[in-house]
Amino acid sequence: MAINRRTFLKAAGLTTLAGVAGHAAMELLAPGALEAARPESVGRFPEELTAKRWAMLIDTKKFTTVQTYQRSIDACHVLHNVPHIPGDQEIKWLWTDSFKHVFPDQQHELVPDAIKNQPFLALCNHCDNPPCVRVCPTKATFKRDDGIVMMDMHRCIGCRYCMAGCPYGARSFNFWDPRPFIANIDPYYPTRMIGVVEKCTFCEDRLARGQIPACVEVSEGAMIFGDLDNQDSEVRRVLRERYSLRRKPSLGTKPHVFYLI
């Protein structure tokens, strides 16, 4: 059957339109339903650690100096090929900052000196209600069922809307090609390219191989990682026993990094 150019263009246009609109409508009515559910059989290791809701606790009583934190930061950055770029265009997955910066709404004039001068770890909070996921125009940032907020660096267009959306300053952008800034490239984790956003992923690559996050592993018990939905898990037990803080709770993002006080 012959098809002239006009008919072809009409049909092509309409099917494209229907495809785009249909997808959009589906997303609006049933968010996430079209997201590629992780296939049960493909690429999963039998030893994979799973949880309904991953969460991290940071014991600020055990971590009191930058030196105590440094092992965790190094483990994270070395393992994930995080480049050392000097200046304000740097890349950070896990770092420390002062109490008044990490908890700006909690600080007042009479905070004890010990706490005032103590560094606190900062990282992606893997929020339950993550603004970065909401604003991302390509689903390059998405939340997994187990609560991990993930980055697809091959999908990211580098619009940096997630950086504007994140109220915790947890995201870095590759202003430069990161590779020349990596001292020793770890061949087991991808280096990133220029022009994409990146951040902490709760070591989902390690969880898939049955290992806990690198920072937790080397923290000598100062960090705890586990399933918040499991009543008997260590994270739940410790949260029952100790008082904890979350960053900027008033914003309603429900961070899943808890600071034990």
Binding site: R160, M163, G169, S172, W176
Partner: protein
């Protein structure tokens, strides 16, 4: 009809050549940015949007302002705007193209741009901004071109065009509303998190847009046989006056709610912008903004200065420039300062960033020049 843009005197070709040179320089710097990354800009981890996204915000307003001509002409049958509507629509076309180009030059991975279409994400305001901006672009191209064709043939515009024109009116409002939602919907960015933002975007646009259009038309009047009806100028300057007054009023509302409540997060960006707390880079610009805003408002409110061509022109230039400081500079940059850690990291555009910006504007001016050239030629033929 486009061939009409190929006839012109020496001055016309000199102007076109100047624009091409500016585009060439901008493109050269863009190639450098593509190869080396956005590291060549002044952007950083804390201020992740800057000059480019500021220009997007400002030019969306310029595009939306076309409705200030379309609405009175088509909805209220206000004849004085008859000959000018096409120029408003063509300004909108070039302004939207400039907006889209600023999005592209701001991307870290521009070759993945189509991901926004391939993976439509209705929960992202950026997706909707793409939809409304492209929609408005096509609406104005179709409307402007079809109306011009009708004028050329000396017939009444087709009736289907009326529907598109009516659609374009709320659509103009939508482009600036959705662009405001890009900012207003973010938690923890207190300077932006403001339900008034879309409304103040529109009032600022309805002042700066028509002001820029009038200034451009006055230049066109000098170099061609276009005659702007006196009544049209008077009506437009009144629109500018009211819009500008409301825009400044809304700014005062924000300042009141921040400072009377003494809410630190709400005061922080104002402290930085106007008080130089944590860095003085923006302070001189902001006080210039205050000066330009107040003086232009006074000049516009007093009838004798509003109707005097010289003082009116001064006021229009001031409104355009003040509007630019407000949206093109302070809104986007200020929103990131201080950062989520209450740390002040400053930002200032670099030389590549500046020339890429100039280049994008030159593309817009080139498109505007060609469209205006065609429109003027058609109108002249029709009149003779």
């Amino acid at each position: 009809m486009l061939e009409k843009a190929l006839q012109g005197n020496k001055a016309y070709w000199g102007w076109i050549f100047t624009l091409l040179v500016a585009i060439g320089i901008g493109f050269g710097f863009y190639v450098v940015q593509l190869q080396q990354g956005l590291g060549v800009t002044g952007l950083n981890r804390d201020v992740s949007w800057g000059l480019y996204i500021g220009q997007l915000t400002y030019m969306v307003g310029i595009a939306a302002s076309a409705v200030m001509l379309v609405l009175p002409y088509y909805l209220h049958n206000y004849k004085a705007f008859g000959k000018l509507v096409i120029f408003g629509e063509f300004l909108a076309v070039s302004a939207v193209i400039v907006c889209l180009l600023f999005v592209v030059v701001d991307l870290g991975q521009p070759q993945r741009l189509m991901n926004v279409v391939l993976h439509p994400t209705p929960n992202s305001v950026l997706f909707w901004d793409m939809v409304v901006l492209n929609g408005y672009l096509f609406l104005n191209i179709i409307i402007g071109w079809a109306v011009l064709h009708a004028v050329k043939k000396g017939v009444r515009p087709a009736s289907w065009l009326k529907i598109l024109i009516y659609v374009s009116i709320p659509w103009a409002v939508s482009i600036h509303t959705v662009t405001a939602f890009l900012y207003a919907g973010l938690p923890g960015r207190y300077f932006w998190h403001d339900s008034l933002l879309a409304a103040s975007f529109l009032t600022g646009a309805f002042a700066a847009g028509p002001a820029l259009l009038l200034l451009i038309l006055m230049i066109v009047q000098k170099v061609s046989d276009l005659k702007i009806p006196k009544e049209a100028i008077q009506t437009l300057t009144k629109i500018i006056t009211y819009a500008w007054a409301i825009n400044l009023f809304m700014l005062l509302l924000k300042i009141f709610s921040a400072y009377y409540s003494q809410y630190p997060a709400k005061m922080a960006t104002f402290d930085y912008l106007f008080g130089g707390v944590g860095g003085e880079q923006m302070m001189p610009w902001m006080w210039n903004f205050v000066f330009l805003s107040v003086v232009s408002l006074v000049l516009l409110v007093i009838p004798s200065t509003r109707n005097n061509p010289i003082t009116m022109t001064i006021a229009l230039v001031m409104v355009v420039f003040a509007g630019w400081i407000d949206k093109g500079l302070s809104l986007v940059i200020g929103g990131f300062i201080p950062n989520p850690f209450k740390v002040h990291t400053e930002y200032w555009p670099t030389i590549p960033e500046f020339f890429i910006t100039v280049g994008v504007y030159a593309v817009g001016l080139l498109i505007l020049t060609i469209l205006y050239k065609v429109a003027l030629a058609v109108q002249r033929e029709n009149a003779s």
